[in-house]
């Protein structure tokens, strides 16, 4: 049992202990100094808030003019605090006061400050600036150019914020271009697309034009199928029933080129929502229940379920044996509705499907979700 410690061991132990000490010291610094720094910044912000709020109310009460208020904004804290205050107030006031607040946002100090932030490397700053420029009615050519560049930003959140700002501008060409560029991006999630379209629509005065732009996007093959499908799915919630003929045309012509089934299923779903008359005929013509895509078969079953038509009994019986459980259950539910008109013997179901069928029958048709 030797008790002599060699140099290498001392060095290793020293390094490890040094690392431990360093981490502990950094932690203590973070927990004390950094917290104090953050608290100090918070205090500065609060002071700025106090400084800019009274003059803001004075401005709204016509006690001071725009230039006088601009003179109040000296530091970045004051500009940020004022912007936050205006942002909160603008949604809570109406008429002339709202107009006054909007003109306040046009102050060169705000514009310069946020335009500089559009070029920042910090995504927080960029997003913040995008939000400033997305204030309704704000048009700034340089900012718009910059935000088009930001639509290629690697962070989705910046793509999203810049698109949001661009679709909120007052120029319809800018809005349309921004929307199309956004839709061409391959990695957009459908939720983000829905939201952008919703906001794009809310900024449109001419609803027919808006529908036209969306239809063009739906037909644009340079836009990924899933994005086109997301646009299609938004049409009913925007109330664009008059688009159904164009959608039907698309269903007739494009199904063979649909490589994922996502476009076809979206089209069936939306045309079903629109109660489009020719849909049934088209589904039968193309025998879409035989589609290789699960979501297409599922949409077809949902459509048949709505029809309550016993002439589709055998098709639904086939679909009740679909390899996909979701399609199977939807088909069984559709059959439950038809059962009122035609008796369906239990022998028609295989042993693995029979328990579901029996359970549905026990629950009664009224208690089966459509």
């Amino acid at each position: 049992m030797s008790t002599v410690i060699d140099t290498y061991a001392v060095v290793i132990i020293f390094i490890v202990l040094l690392m431990l000490t360093a981490v502990v010291i950094i932690l203590i610094c973070f927990a004390t100094i950094r917290r104090s720094f953050l608290a100090h910044r918070e205090k500065q912000y609060q002071q700025a808030e106090e400084k800019v709020s009274d003059p803001l109310y004075a401005y709204l009460d016509d006690e001071i003019d725009l230039n006088a208020y601009s003179d109040v904004l000296q530091t970045r804290f004051e500009i940020e605090a004022a912007y936050q205050l205006v942002n909160i107030l603008i949604d809570n006031v109406k008429g002339s006061q709202q107009k006054k607040l909007r003109s306040l946002l046009e102050l060169p100090k705000f514009r310069r400050y946020f335009f500089a932030r559009l070029r920042s490397r910090k995504i927080m700053h960029v997003a913040h600036a995008c939000m400033y420029f997305s204030q309704k009615g704000l048009i700034d050519k340089n900012a718009i150019r910059r935000m088009f560049v930001l639509q290629d930003h690697p962070y989705n959140v910046i793509l999203y914020a810049s698109t949001l700002a661009l679709v909120s501008t007052a120029e319809s060409e800018t809005q349309d271009e921004a929307l199309k560029r956004f839709l061409r991006r391959r990695n957009n999630a459908s939720m983000a697309i829905n939201d952008i379209i919703f906001k794009y629509h809310s900024h449109q005065i001419d609803s027919a034009r808006c529908a036209q732009v969306l239809l063009e996007a739906v037909k644009d093959v340079s836009i990924p199928d899933k994005n086109r499908a997301a646009v299609i799915s938004m049409l009913p919630s925007l109330g664009f029933y008059h688009c159904s003929d164009d959608l039907m045309e698309l269903l007739r012509s494009e199904v063979s080129q649909d490589r994922t089934g996502i476009l076809t299923s979206a089209l069936i779903n939306v045309l079903k929502e629109f109660f489009y008359e020719g849909l049934e005929k088209e589904i039968v013509r193309q025998e879409l229940w035989k589609s290789g895509f699960q979501q297409v078969r599922l949409e077809v079953v949902h459509f048949f379920s709505r029809l309550h038509d016993e002439s589709y009994l055998s098709t639904l019986m086939d679909l009740a044996h679909d390899p996909d459980i979701e399609v199977r259950i939807a088909a069984l539910k559709a059959l439950m509705k038809i059962q009122k008109k035609v008796r369906i013997p239990d022998e028609n179901f295989q042993a693995d499907i029979l328990p579901e069928w029996q359970e549905m029958k026990r629950s009664g048709e009224d208690y089966v979700d459509s």
């Binding site: 061991a9 490890v16 431990l20 981490v23 990695n187 208690y367």
Partner: protein, 467 residues
Amino acid sequence: MSIVNEFLLFINVLILLYFIVVNGGYLFLIWCSYRNIQKFRDVDKIFKMTGVYNTNLYKPVSIIAPAYNEEQSIINSVNSLLNIIYANFEVIVVNDGSSDNTLSLLIDHYGLKPDHRYRPKFLSHQPIRQIYSSPRYPVLIVVDKENGRKADALNAGLNIASNELICAVDADSILEPDVITKMLRVFMEDETTIAVGGVVRVANGCTFKHRIVEKVLLPQTFLGRIQAVEYLRAFLFGRVGWDYLNTLLIISGAFGVFDRKALIKAGGYLHNTVGEDMELVLRMHKYHRDHNIPYRIRFIAEPVCWTEVPEDFKTLSRQRNRWQRGLADTLYRYRKMFFNPGYGRIGMIGMPFFFLAELLSPFVELVGLVIVGFSWWFGAINISFALVFLAVAIILGMILSVSALLLEEMTTRRYDRSKDIIILAGYALLENLGYRQIHAWWRLMGLLDYLRGNKAWGMMVRKGIGG
């Protein structure tokens, strides 16, 4: 030097190498976590800004909370779920055959009425006795079923859920009101996301007001505080780091959001395992890789679910024993994925590291300590080697724990008082001197129990939180 001594030296070198590799791996994970946190810290802040991602078009979510003998906390927990700030959600509480008053409390408190609606059976589970809905709380559904354990209850909830996304949450946990919105950020940014995990924190010691955490304070007991450090380490640098490497193997059973269809297609939760959370994530990886479907399983550092941790040795040992059995069971089930290039980083990095660092660690740690002491006593190794061993095995462990606290300070700073963080740092150091070895013993027993075929869940003693 005798052959025995040479052999002992060889074993010692192996054990030392083990600690170097494992702790080195963890240090690398810390770096990954730091990078990940830096990358997404601002994104999370932007997400909170008014205007960006502010929408009513989020996908609807079904929150599923399995409950077994939760009479102490069930009302507070369900209230916290009903308190969620989200445009479109439903809460499904699955009473998994509780023998206490869980169900009657729910019926009385929410005025539940039987609901005879048919629900399809996508996944198998124990028979449902009754489904209840509440006229007063239309978003609440309570399912009363035969006992079948947590996975079974989750499957029942999955069948009943009607929304595209599901959030699995323990009924004894409390979610922060904006937690789902924060989680949705990931689904909103990447269409291929099928599952997202979030941070689970220790609720013991915190004060609650209207089922919302009012003050984040330290637990009162030694075990509570040690676990506060453990949870920060597991979530902030473990899972955040693995997320950075796109190799996440586990989403806590206490809290996770999943794409319902993806979950059902993968086969739902497995009944005959005690590690259903990790098993599910691995199965989802396997299913999507086998079927060549693009997917992402993510973890984000911020969303918070508060959970009560056991503060007595007996309950804690049972919990850790179960976790170790679950880990062993899952890794064994998916042994074919090990070093299989077809499973990418999951098979090549994640699983081997989990095997080495999580499954084997209790054995190596305990046996290692004994062997090193024994070898030094018999002169097979010198004091230098023994000290280097302790430095690598124990002091590096301390560095890892303190680093987790550092990540906490860099991100959410949920502890209001800096004093609390410094106290926790003390516990992070203490943890490695005694508790870690006891913990390793519990996990070793878990391994042995797994080999003996023990699949018991183990009784959890809870006091209830959020009151």
